[in-house]
Subunit: 340 residues, 3 copies
């Protein structure tokens, strides 16, 4: 049995096998490979694409996805060990994971960090607890990384650029009214460096560098894969000769949990928005974003409506890569004592 918590646990050839399977599945989308199987989708945060693509993907494979929203239509959940549970949570992850492992063939979880204490959140404790207690595969639908988005991004890069090795990939920070999760930024670095790309991280200030774990992983992976990893504050330098521009907003980690101070730091940098002038510096680059995207804040209407914008293709690829992932994880599974 294998979990899909982060691509750091998977090799490039293993990930490429999922991407190849996704390509097959989009040519033959409806089949019965997972007939009678079930997956629980547990959302601690909102979702449109993730929920739709998992639910539809399961259906197209003959399986069924159950959507759970603990704390809203279900009970609040405790994730720490050994707690005297006389607070808000009615239930411990040990029992939730135990029961869902009996009902379902896999459990997928979305659990954003709590934006209070990064030293706690950076351990990814919620999904780690789930994976520890579950006896079926656990899939990460975004915590402090977003590995399903990574697969969709790399499928999209290969669809549009062919082999990714040596192609210039720019991850640019953009302004946003609130400090957002770093997950997609962490993930973009992980997947682009693992696949041998020439990666540039563009941030307006060193405070927007990502957690050292992901910076180190990007350096190490670039070295192993024959790629490169550079950091810059220079917009022109970053965009010049780029093959693929990827935008994301995130909050500065040194100000984690102090949104007012972070807002002041962020205020001068609205001009990091992706626009036509910046895209004109590239080598006819494709542009993408994980969505949702605020138009004319993260990217201009001109960019979003251009032929080189492949954000909708990337979103579509979520469906195909997640079907490949479910097929790999659920068919790989031994028959348990439970429901199948």
């Amino acid at each position: 049995m294998r979990h899909f918590l982060t691509t750091e646990d998977w090799t490039r050839p293993e990930l490429q096998a999922l991407l190849d399977a996704a390509d097959d599945l989009r040519r033959q989308p409806v089949n019965d490979q997972l007939r009678g199987k079930t997956i629980a989708l547990m959302f601690l945060n909102p979702s449109l694409r993730t929920r739709s693509s998992f639910e539809i993907g399961a259906f197209q494979l003959g399986a069924h996805a159950v959507v759970l929203e603990p704390g809203k239509a279900a009970w609040g959940i405790e994730f720490e060990r050994g707690v005297v549970m006389d607070g808000d949570a009615e239930e411990h992850i040990a029992e939730v994971a135990g029961v869902l492992s009996r009902y379902c063939d896999a459990i997928a979880l979305r659990a954003f960090p709590l934006f209070k204490d990064w030293s706690h959140d950076r351990q990814d404790p919620v999904i780690r607890a789930l994976a520890e207690y579950a006896s079926v595969p656990v899939i990460n639908m975004e915590t402090i990384v977003h590995p399903c988005q990574e697969l969709a991004l790399m499928r999209t890069i290969q669809d549009h650029l062919g082999a990714p090795d040596g192609r210039k990939f720019v991850l640019t920070w953009t302004w946003h009214p609130r400090p957002l999760n770093t997950a997609v930024a962490n993930s973009a670095l992980l997947i682009a460096t693992k696949f041998g790309m020439d990666v540039t991280l563009l941030v307006p200030d060193d405070a927007y560098l990502l957690d050292e774990h992901f910076m180190d992983a990007a350096h190490y992976q670039a070295e192993s894969s024959g790629g490169r990893f550079n950091i810059t504050h220079n917009i022109e330098k970053a965009y010049t000769d780029a093959d693929f521009v990827y935008a994301k907003s995130w909050g500065a980690l040194p100000f984690y949990g102090r949104p007012e101070e972070e807002a002041q730091l962020r205020a001068p940098y609205r001009h990091f928005m992706v626009d036509g002038a910046k895209m004109a510096l590239t080598r006819n680059a494709r542009f993408s974003h994980c969505l949702p995207l605020r138009r004319n804040v993260k990217a201009s209407d001109e960019v979003m409506d251009a032929d080189y914008c492949v954000a909708i293709d990337e979103a579509e690829n979520r469906l195909h890569v997640q079907k490949a992932l479910m097929t790999a994880l659920l068919n790989n599974q031994e028959q348990g004592e439970g429901t199948d």
Copy 2:
């Protein structure tokens, strides 16, 4: 590819073909005509019948419906063009429509008017924006019209009265504690006049006349179809010799967005409730309502529990007509580049 935004875009023979298909489907409810297909149901407002009937209808045809509630379990959506999106909405309808068009074979939307500015709401801007950006059929699940309810109503009229031409159809306004959407009233006029009925609109005051677009359409359609369209404030005159009584409450458009003033205007008219005495004036008319209905406010218990009340039949017909609609729109569709 064709949308189903309003019955004004469809001819009487086209609508009758849907009603005939609905009749076939209720005799053979479970089949595989839409095997592997998917439809997104996007609700900006609550629903019981609409959601159940679409979700069950899709299932009975071998398809799957995904229920999305943007702003609750999903992201808030911006519907205007060219906006700098630094307010509440995290996402533009262009991307939502684009992505869902890749995941699904159709998108259905419920978006009630906002009760602030009728000159804006009467353009039906939200579903028009969705239809513009979607590359799959869009179905109206109630905006400022409710065309699925129209199909269910006309199916019910034909089930109970046979040919509708020349039969007297009364649409009566009723009191309600809040000013409600005019959609079902607009729709009742549209469908009854299109099918050649002798239509009477009963309102307590001219302030309760419907938007001129729908008043004009009713006059024009009645003329084209050989029907009639009359307006009255006289309860006795309206009910006398009626074949079909249809009740609905709605807010007075001149007071749109000013609910306190509208409440004062409305206050003297609680006696417009449908009761046994009024029904006794008819030619053994059937009574119906789109539901939900407040008993002893819009119609008395006596009326709701009478054999002549066919509101439950009409609700059941929602299932059959929507299955006919999905079958027509989804099978009509060319194979896209996306998921099927």
Copy 3:
């Protein structure tokens, strides 16, 4: 047509037939016995296990479950007769039941008591109203009893102990920060006495005795089945020689609707928590709980993590017994005029 509102309406052999069918179904979980059938799951209160197990169970049988949450994503519902509905509720249970009976082959309802007036709530008025107006089977997903949990509990007892007759079953009250529903406690007494067990009810104070209806039923059923029914405040006496310990917290009925006073009464009794020392008094008893459970409040980590804890097995059995129940009720049904 038959409802499943309380096990008091079903004989022991009838219930045993459901338990035997559940055993068959867990060996062959995926089949097409209910192909094309639909069930509405109406939740007035949150749920994780109940929703997942019904939804997955329906899917594994070829059916589809629609999840409705009236008052949240659907309309508020009125359950009383003859009311002038000018308050909050937009719709009467008569219409909800009527419509859902046309769309679905069964309706399941969760409706916790309102914690205001026990003389009202003890009549179980909400599900009784639904059953009265529905023309398809109604299934109780927890009101003032929880008969699906009873089936899962008795399936688990038989899985671990074999024949239940004469085995010592202890239902122990436990502390909890809030006064909870008595449903599972009522149900545990009903099912254990019906199946001939030697039943002990352990409460810290006579105020925690259950409603006289259930106390009387337990006495009467124990007599009929050759079992026993005893009440004690003595922890040691209760646990000694027990074969099965079942824990639940509930509010004291004499303080129903007065949570502050009840909290004072409850305060001295945190030591009723199930722990290793208490379990050591038993005859190697199994321990279970219906979940959700607050660890180190209702039962210690030691108990929950022990091999003798079968709470996860009981939760799994929810799936199997509910599939048996749906199969029995839906296949038993005559073809209606409606959707199938």
